[in-house]
């Protein structure tokens, strides 16, 4: 099965990359974009696991490896 984990900066942390993208969009005239936050996405191809196990394992690896909890938060979903 396929899992998607999204990792992004916490609201309180400045995101210079997102700001730069926003500026680039504005300089091209895309003024309808008000703000940009940039993060990472991980698509994991995994062995089929029951929901309860996923609920434990995925947050575990997200917390331990994929995100740095001091500056980042994550969310995840089952893709298929």
């Amino acid at each position: 099965m396929k899992i998607r984990v999204l990792v992004s900066f916490k609201e309180s942390v400045l995101d210079p990359q997102g700001q730069t993208v926003k500026n680039a969009l504005h300089s091209l005239g895309y003024d309808f974009v008000k703000d940009v936050r940039q993060g990472k996405v991980f698509e994991l191809e995994i062995d089929d696991l029951p929901r309860e196990q996923l609920e434990v394992k995925i947050p575990e690896i997200a917390d331990k490896v994929l995100a740095n909890p001091i500056i980042e938060k994550f969310e995840w979903e089952i893709l298929e």
Partner: protein, 736 residues
């Protein structure tokens, strides 16, 4: 089965196809055709350049390995050897600037450590179109971060290089990367297969469908079909390459390797056939054993893949286990995929079937060699400055403009992104005439530089070729290094056009003449043809890399002035023509010749004099006069001083001040020395018959230039510095 369309797709002519059929005695299958098309591409076979490259001198007592291997090798005395080479990655960098430049770095690094050397320095020669166009800025940002991304990560310092801007590079950026490595003299490794029975190991990254046809692409012009030709772009993995580097050097140090060849352009095809051809053996591999990243790859795809960070190596049966253990330590697989065999064929197995069976000799060495017609273009004779441009009314303004010209302006914006200090050998940081690297544990240092001026080559390719060599050597002389060996990257348009072929031939002959004059061998290089988009070729652009030795690092000299009151001298003539100068092109707005000429005899005398004066510790600084002429050179001497020392100099009544200040005639340097040394300095100059002029002295905090008592230029060093320093970053400011 092989029709006309298939041949065209493979960039092979019907005659070449005929020759393949004769050589193998039958029609090739598609995989075999792919193999020939790769190895017979311009990029791999040098079929258009070969007859001219033969004119280059390649021998000398210091040469351990000349052209013909992954890199040249020069004896440094004691037990060390310098291993170096330059390569282009122009086409890939145009398609995808970041990855193109990054994989260019990866490729040249492999060429160096394949030979058993630890890479100790990278230099990059970059050419872009004018920065007021967004597209050019995007390409430049991508290329610079690609080089930085790969070189920094793998831990090889990028210590120097050059960046030029000219409209001819707008759709044809050039990315040439040079690498220097150090190896123990008695432990150089070559692409050899050794004896039949030896196992062949595949190490490094898995094979994917990357860059299939990359080499054939580098052998064709870009046109509106660019989109279609876009191959699968290779993504560099510097981390993997770092592991590969350490594992290979470790296996080599333990004497476990017989022969080794990197898989860059032309991948498995090139590495298998070249190793076998050089040992006069055959080679057999089984594609089912090749580590693959993608499903369902065909033999054609596996053989032609240009996936990066891979190596092929040959060892003996007994040593396979030890080799594998070392690679495992570095988290890398080393898989036996075949063997060296009797006979002289490449045999490739796939799912139990023999899918390729061709003589390696035919693939590697029997590509037709072309004597392509050449013809001198007529129009350039008319592009000659017939009448002097009107005299500028405000020299201060002109001077400011020149200092802000991106080609002249400070390149810190670029090299600040490169780790230029890792390995703690870099004594002269980027910005000096040459990068200087200490050799740990000895009083010696290596000096390296890249050079080439395509405007000179456009107006006079022969002189331009000579000047590229002369100027690179002059850069070394300025820091106090004796040149030992040369590598070159020849970037040109389409060689099937007689005018381009003429440029090529002239440049090569000019370079050959200059190298002979300096008694310098060319130990390798690279040719990049077809740098054209929509029929517009780049200017002929040879880039010359020279490696030299400084015997006593303590005596090495920097370009910056040292002390108030020091005397400033011009070594060499005043020069007389503004032809092909940056001033004429960018300030006056006339792109006209003639190119400067170089008197090789005088050039050599001046360089030897400079080296001798440095050896006798007569000088406080030396700096070569190049783009922007004497005025810009003088300013740079002030900028490189520690505390913005100024200079006051007087021009002679002749030539006209614009000519005196901005001409780019050759064989000239600005040196400074303390007044106490003047007498000895002048005596030495006299015995060596060196033309020189006392220009003035290091004084104050301004650059002041007079003629016949009149002030022509008067600018504070701090202001001039500010202009020079901020020009490039201003183009890239993030607007918010």
């Amino acid at each position: 089965m092989i029709d006309k369309k298939t041949l065209e797709e493979h960039n092979l002519t019907p005659e070449e196809y005929q020759r393949i059929v004769e050589l193998i005695g039958r029609e090739p299958n598609l995989t075999e055709l792919g193999i020939f098309s790769l190895m017979w591409s311009e990029h791999c076979s040098y079929k258009s350049s070969k007859i001219h490259l033969k004119k280059l001198p390649t021998t000398g007592p210091q040469v351990i390995q000349g052209p013909g291997e992954n890199a040249g090798v020069i004896d440094l005395g004691e037990d060390l050897a310098a291993v170096f080479k330059i390569e282009s990655h122009n086409h890939p960098s145009f398609i995808e600037p970041y990855q193109g430049a990054a994989t260019g770095v990866g490729g040249i690094l492999r060429d160096i450590f394949t030979m058993g050397a630890r890479p100790i320095a990278l230099l990059d020669s970059l050419r872009f179109g004018p920065l007021d166009q967004t597209a050019n800025r995007v390409i430049m940002e991508g290329v610079v971060s690609g080089i930085s991304g790969y070189g920094n990560s793998i831990g090889v310092p990028t210590v120097g290089g050059e960046v030029y801007f000219h409209p001819c590079y707008s759709l044809n950026p050039l990315v040439n990367v040079f690498c220097l490595g150090l190896a123990p003299k008695d432990k150089i490794f070559y692409a050899r297969a050794g004896r039949p029975g030896n196992p062949v190991l595949y190490v490094g990254a898995k094979t994917g469908r990357d860059g299939i046809h990359g080499a054939t692409m580098a052998s064709a012009e870009f046109d509106e079909n660019l989109e279609k030709k876009r191959p699968n772009v290779q993504v560099g993995d510097p981390f993997k390459e770092k592991l590969l580097l350490e594992a290979c050097l470790e296996a080599m140090a333990q004497g476990l390797i017989i022969g080794i060849q990197d898989m860059g352009a032309a991948g498995l095809t090139c590495s298998t056939t070249e190793m076998a051809a050089k040992s006069g053996t055959g080679i057999e591999i089984n594609l089912d054993l090749v580590p693959q990243r993608e499903e369902g790859m065909t033999p054609y795809e596996i053989m032609l893949s240009e996936s990066q960070e891979r190596m092929l190596l040959v060892t003996t049966e007994e040593k396979v286990g030890q080799v594998q253990a070392i690679f495992a330590k570095w988290d890398l697989d080393a898989v036996v995929i075949g063997r060296v065999i009797e006979g002289k064929n490449l045999k490739v197995w796939f799912k139990g079937e023999l899918v390729v069976d061709v003589p390696v000799e035919a693939v590697v060495n029997l590509c037709p060699v072309y004597h392509r017609p050449w013809k001198e273009p007529t129009e350039r004779g008319q592009q000659i400055l017939k009448e002097l441009p009107s005299h500028p009314s405000d020299f201060n303004r002109v001077f400011r403009q020149l200092l802000a010209s991106p080609t002249i302006a400070d390149k810190e914006w670029v090299f600040r992104q490169y780790d230029h200090m890792v390995q703690i050998n870099t004594v002269f940081l980027p910005g000096a005439d040459a990068a200087v690297l200490r050799i740990k544990g000895t009083p010696q240092a290596l000096a390296v530089t890249l050079d080439g001026n395509s405007a000179y080559c456009y107006f006079n390719p022969r002189e331009g070729g000579k000047i590229a060599v002369a100027e690179a050597c002059r850069n070394l002389a300025c820091v106090g290094a004796r040149p030992l060996g040369v590598t070159n990257c020849l970037n040109f348009g389409n060689p099937e056009k007689p005018e381009i072929m003429w440029e090529f031939k002239e440049v090569v002959e000019g370079m050959a003449e200059a190298c002979r004059n300096f008694n310098l061998p060319i130990t390798g290089g690279n040719v990049s043809f077809y740098n054209e988009t929509e029929g517009n070729p780049i200017y002929p652009t040879p880039v010359v890399g020279v490696v030299g030795l400084i015997d006593d690092l303590k005596k090495a000299l920097r370009p910056g002035f040292q002390n108030q009151g020091d005397l400033i001298y011009l070594l060499g003539p005043w020069g007389e023509s503004l032809g092909a100068s940056l001033y004429l092109r960018e300030i006056v707005g006339q792109e006209k010749g003639p190119a400067p000429r170089v008197d090789l005899h005088l050039e050599k005398k001046i360089q030897e004099f400079c080296l001798e004066a440095i050896h006798q510790e007569l000088l406080h600084s030396a700096h070569d006069i190049s783009e922007g002429g004497l005025a810009v050179c003088l300013a740079e001497c002030c900028f490189h001083s520690e505390s913005f020392l100024g200079a006051r100099i007087a021009l002679p009544p002749e030539p006209r001040p614009d000519i005196a200040l901005f001409n780019e005639d050759q064989s000239r340097l600005i040196v400074s020395l303390s007044p106490e040394k003047e007498k000895t300095f002048l005596q030495l100059a006299e015995t060596k018959e060196i033309p020189l002029t006392h220009l003035g002295e290091v004084t104050g905090q301004a650059i002041t230039i007079t003629q016949a008592g009149q002030i022509i230029i008067d600018l504070s060093v701090a202001e001039a510095y500010q202009i020079w320093k901020t020009s490039l970053p201003n183009f890239f400011k993030i607007k918010s």
